[in-house]
Symmetry: C2
Subunit: 343 residues, 2 copies
Amino acid sequence: MKIVLDAMGSDHCPVPDVEGAVLAARESGDTIILVGDKVAVERELAKHDSKGLKIEIVHAPQAVDMHDKPSQVVSRKKESSMAVGMNLVRDGQADAFVSAGNTGAALAFATLRSLRRIRGVKRPALTSLVNIQGKTVVLTDLGANADARPEWLVQFGIMGSIYSERVIGTKNPRIAVLSNGEEEGKGNALVKEASALFATSGLNFIGNVEPGEMLEGAADVVVTDGFVGNIALKSMEAVGDALFKMIRQEVKSSPLSIFGALLMRPALRKIYHQVDPFETGGAPLLGVNGVVIIGHGRTNAKGIKNAIGQARKAVKGGLIEALREGMARYIDNTAGADDSGDV
Amino acid sequence: MKIVLDAMGSDHCPVPDVEGAVLAARESGDTIILVGDKVAVERELAKHDSKGLKIEIVHAPQAVDMHDKPSQVVSRKKESSMAVGMNLVRDGQADAFVSAGNTGAALAFATLRSLRRIRGVKRPALTSLVNIQGKTVVLTDLGANADARPEWLVQFGIMGSIYSERVIGTKNPRIAVLSNGEEEGKGNALVKEASALFATSGLNFIGNVEPGEMLEGAADVVVTDGFVGNIALKSMEAVGDALFKMIRQEVKSSPLSIFGALLMRPALRKIYHQVDPFETGGAPLLGVNGVVIIGHGRTNAKGIKNAIGQARKAVKGGLIEALREGMARYIDNTAGADDSGDV
């Protein structure tokens, strides 16, 4: 297997990116293709023992940064590590693309120029893999579509479900719509319309779930529009960060607390691992013709290694082929019925 | 001051409701009017030492429960503790109304039948008072309006700002719109349109904030539509609950951890207090002609006492008068300009 890593992706690139690639190549034996500024990448790689590892370097003279506007990168950064790397997958020279860079730019490149959408997909979706009590919930969309239509949410459900089945290994994944309750008057117009579509879709739709129910693992795939999904995820991350910060501060307030924290360290560390975003490493961009995994910008080497691991699992699970088949079935089932409101 | 408490409000009513009323009457010396089933309330009150306290009981033969549909309670539960209690405020026999009952029903009663909207208010809004590092952020709307219009968000900002100033004591409160970032392509259509309206409103608008920035106190008033606000709040609560549950579970996994947790108990307890929703007790329904404070259904006596305390602060701060003046100023400033899209 050949996996492309955007070496110019993370906030501190190429340092964690190159180290993560070395770790991944060593652990898996797969070929990792590092795309980026050749001089910088070679210099960074020389700091590691990469003897015997299958690591290749492909030069790209440009890099996308976090301030680049997605609408402009597609035309202005054609020679970026992101564009060059994704095109290697498009052209069949590699099996998957991984980047911890600008998510909006990756979405724009993939959708508009490089891999393009899988037939039938109205809008690709970003996902997050939320780990809870040893289970993984696919939450999608996470920001690709701030304003969504009900039928897009159904497609997110189909794609998330296929991901859950093929990559995570869930049998007959349960799909739910993220909402603020099931009672009368709950849910916004989008949620109500999407739920109605799901109810007659033949999919394994279990209804609406609140954020708390999602964290208790009430569903395997939770769909929402990109704005709400992003707000929900950021709200959860913010509280996690704030609580750990408060624990660190309060602990320092007395010697007894410090001693107590030392004794509790293994327990606290285990909890932190469960909520550490870098444990998952990255999450897929669903709906384009190739495996694309996006990592957190402030990732570390472990996060990059784990993101590459996500890419490997997606390739092994035959994700793209399954998505193509799933979308083809969906189009057959809804032929003529889902085009009315399309733009 | 006379404050009405819906004695049939909380999930375990009238137990915590009556105890909370006793605590509040003792602490403040104010008159608390308990509205509910007279026999049940008297029986509960007899369990407490209420000698010398100004506690009155007003009978209401009906009660609203959590399963009642807001659209039906207004006509079917006219004799409920919620309706009777709110009407006492409407008729000038009390200064504020507090309930830990069905939020949707309270909103429906207040808006459609009892107190009615303050002149100029398009839609009343629910709020949450988010406590962070000794500061209180007003987050609104929390669910009264799942689908909102940009001009409603501006009104939520005005009302939240007046609340922050008059009740919390913030000088020149900073207003922000909750969003998923400030970069191009961030925010949904509602956020973008509301931000544009705010920018030319003359209000102290500081732009968009992400959930993490809100928790760092970057703004004093954070506005959003009721669906997103509710999802954000529930996401934050869910992670807090999950983390404390994990800490309790992990701690039990080894004797050393148990001992460590005992030593850390004061620190952990202090953190828990900061995130405990019952510390605030309740939050106001903004935009109706009277102080209405809604508490959590699963509240306890302390939560009820603190909700009554919120009501007292709102009355003392002249909240309703200030809201009337603020809305009148807003109408003058936008005369003829804000009616185009109204329903």
